[in-house]
Amino acid sequence: MSQTSPLPQAVAERIGSRWFGRPRWGVAAFLVFALVVVLASSLNTPQARFFATERFQTFVTIFLSLFIEAAPFLLAGSIVSGIIAVYVNQDMVERYIPDHPLLAALAGAGLGFVFPVCECGVVPVTRRLYGKGLPLPVGIAFLLAAPVINPVVIFSTYAAFGWGPVLWGRVAFSMLVAFTVGLIFHLARPREILLPETLTGASSSDHCDDHSHDHDHDHDHDHDHDHDHSHDHDHSHDHSSAQPRVWQALAMAGDDFLDMGRFLIAGALLAAMMQTVVPQSTLLAIGQGPIVSVFVMMATAFVLSVCSTVDAFIALAFSGAFTTGSLFGFLVFGPMVDIKSSLLFLGVFRRRTVLYLILLPMALVAVIGVFWNVQVGV
């Protein structure tokens, strides 16, 4: 690849291999610890104890509701990912995805119409496409835009707000932010951005030692990256014709679901905890100004972690009290990045990249929202 690297490669690699793995006991222990502290801190009187159990009940209900609501979408995304793994080869990706960075980022931002997936389903699909050699900008733009740029979400936004600045602003700004962030990542190298296991199976020119091992079902191809790409991703169980390819696709879907499910569940835990502990009115009471309100609504979207298919209706509940610019903060930033999806990102990208993926859209959306409030002011 002819891309130049903004990061010292050796450093990124060292840090990556050490600390930027996937959350394991650390995160799990942290979650449990935080939960215990929060619950224990309010156990002074019998009445407080009663409310603590009630709150725990609320926490469990919200956690399970987030999980039950998101699971079908994640499963659908995983199945699409499994089908891509088995039926799509690298040639197809290279043929249909434009080379030019501008076009590539634009294609990524519009890809949501081809794969109508929401913020949970988009992650396994993107990860799989990266494994098939999808260029970085395309995947990033797809990841950020797809939760909004798809028929279902556009329709639900229309249902809530009708034709108007909120609808087209949401679509246009989502495209813009996704396109811009995708373009920025054009400067980076995949191996500095993606987890090694995401890259496995990437094109041979990108091949690095990181993928000397592949996952359970895929590992007898590590050494033959030079042969015809159409065989590059064959399943290791191919040698037996007894197993139809559809079963391979499904088993890989299962792997993906469990892989991503961990992040979904961790994210749902966190979001449910925040919802149980942080009063909504606190956030909303903080700020109403043209600038502060944008950040408050972005923070609200991040904390609530509701699915992009319904967040328009939630935003409507705020529309009376909040500026249009801050609604963009909620409707554009929320689907791109929230607690749930940033944890899902950890399954695809190195941790530093996830930070960029949170901060870059945040900065861009904040600029858009504040600009709208100050200059347009509708």
């Binding site: 959350p23 394991r24 709150r55 009940q57 609320t58 209900t61 919200i62 956690f63 399970l64 509701s65 987030l66 999980f67 039950i68 609501e69 699971a71 079908p72 499963l75 659908a76 199945i79 987890l195 090694p196 296991e197 995401t198 496995t200 993928h211 996952h215 359970d216 079902h217 590992h219 037996s240 007894a242 197993q243 079963w247 499904l250 088993a251 879907a253 299962g254 792997d255 469990l258 892989d259 569940i265 835990l269 979001a271 919802q275 149980t276 502990v277 942080v278 009063p279 909504q280 009115s281 909303l284 609530l304 509701v306 699915c307 319904v310 967040d311 209706f313 939630i314 409507l316 009376g320």
Partner: protein, 271 residues
């Protein structure tokens, strides 16, 4: 030792299959016991049904892998290399190479919905959830989805709390003859006056995470149990007519009948 056991390819395949099966069965129990709508809007029930079927099918696909492992036993560079990598003493390092390897933390996290679902009896959101929510109970100036308006029931006795709240929000004022017959749970608002409570329900667009509370202030007539006798969170059916007290912009429901009712199967209202 334990991580070695977990690293065995066959154990991995079996565990993954079992976890997916377990999640599918967990969702199925929520569906069959009718508690699914404690969590999500009934509009999305079909998604859960699809997910149950999907999970069962995907879980079933692992049986193929298991059988393959037994029959083929072996691409020499296959399971051997895997066994050495996954189960070796340096398993901690290897975790990063095997993206799909299920570790202990993954196992715990994935089974958490099942474990919590079994340990904590299913209950819909209640009074505790009101404590830190934007409460539009009583205060009707919260805006609710526009899509709601079209679906509103006009027959006064069939209107839900949400229908009334929306109607009032739009400026409609109840006629003398309008009789409300509504079900909700009791919420004792700190701000409410004596002999008054807020009849509350949650409105859920998608899942309980996006629940909003709506409520009607209810005045208890003489002869009815006072609000102190009503347990907070108790589901009640209230029949009565609205009056708009002087100095107040919002109508208050004057309860003529009040009876406790069991929690409805569909605890939430849908816009």
């Amino acid at each position: 030792m334990a991580s070695r056991l977990l690293g065995l390819p066959k154990v991995q395949v079996a565990l993954k299959g079992m976890l997916l099966l377990g999640l599918g069965i967990f969702l199925l129990t929520r569906f069959t016991t009718g508690t699914l709508n404690f969590y999500i809007s009934s509009r999305f029930d079909w998604l859960t049904v699809a997910a149950i079927m999907g999970l069962l099918v995907v879980a079933g696909s692992y049986r193929y892998l298991l059988r393959e492992d037994e029959e083929g036993s072996a691409g020499p560079d296959d399971s051997v290399a895997e066994g050495a990598g996954g189960g070796g003493p340096a398993a901690g390092e290897d975790d990063h190479d095997h993206s799909h390897r299920l570790g202990w933390s993954g196992l715990v996290l994935i089974s958490l919905p099942i474990v919590l679902g079994i340990l904590v009896p299913p209950r819909p959101l209640g009074v505790a959830a009101l404590q830190n929510r934007e409460i539009s109970a009583g205060a009707l100036d919260s805006v609710l989805p526009a899509a709601v308006r079209s679906s509103r029931v006009q027959e006064s006795s069939e209107r839900t709390i949400l229908d009334w709240v929306l109607a009032f929000h739009e400026g409609e004022r109840p006629a003398e003859t309008d009789t409300a017959d509504v079900i909700g749970f009791v919420y004792l608002d700190d701000a409410s006056e004596e002999g008054q409570f807020t009849l509350t329900r949650f409105v859920v667009g998608c899942c309980a995470a996006d629940a909003m509370a709506v409520g009607l202030p209810v005045n208890l007539a003489a002869g009815l149990p006072s609000e102190e006798e009503l347990a907070e969170g108790q589901w009640v059916r209230v029949v009565g007519q609205f009056t708009t007290p002087a100095g107040s912009a919002l109508p208050v429901l004057m309860a003529e009948q009040l009876e406790t009712v069991p929690e409805p199967n569909q605890p939430y209202l849908y816009p």
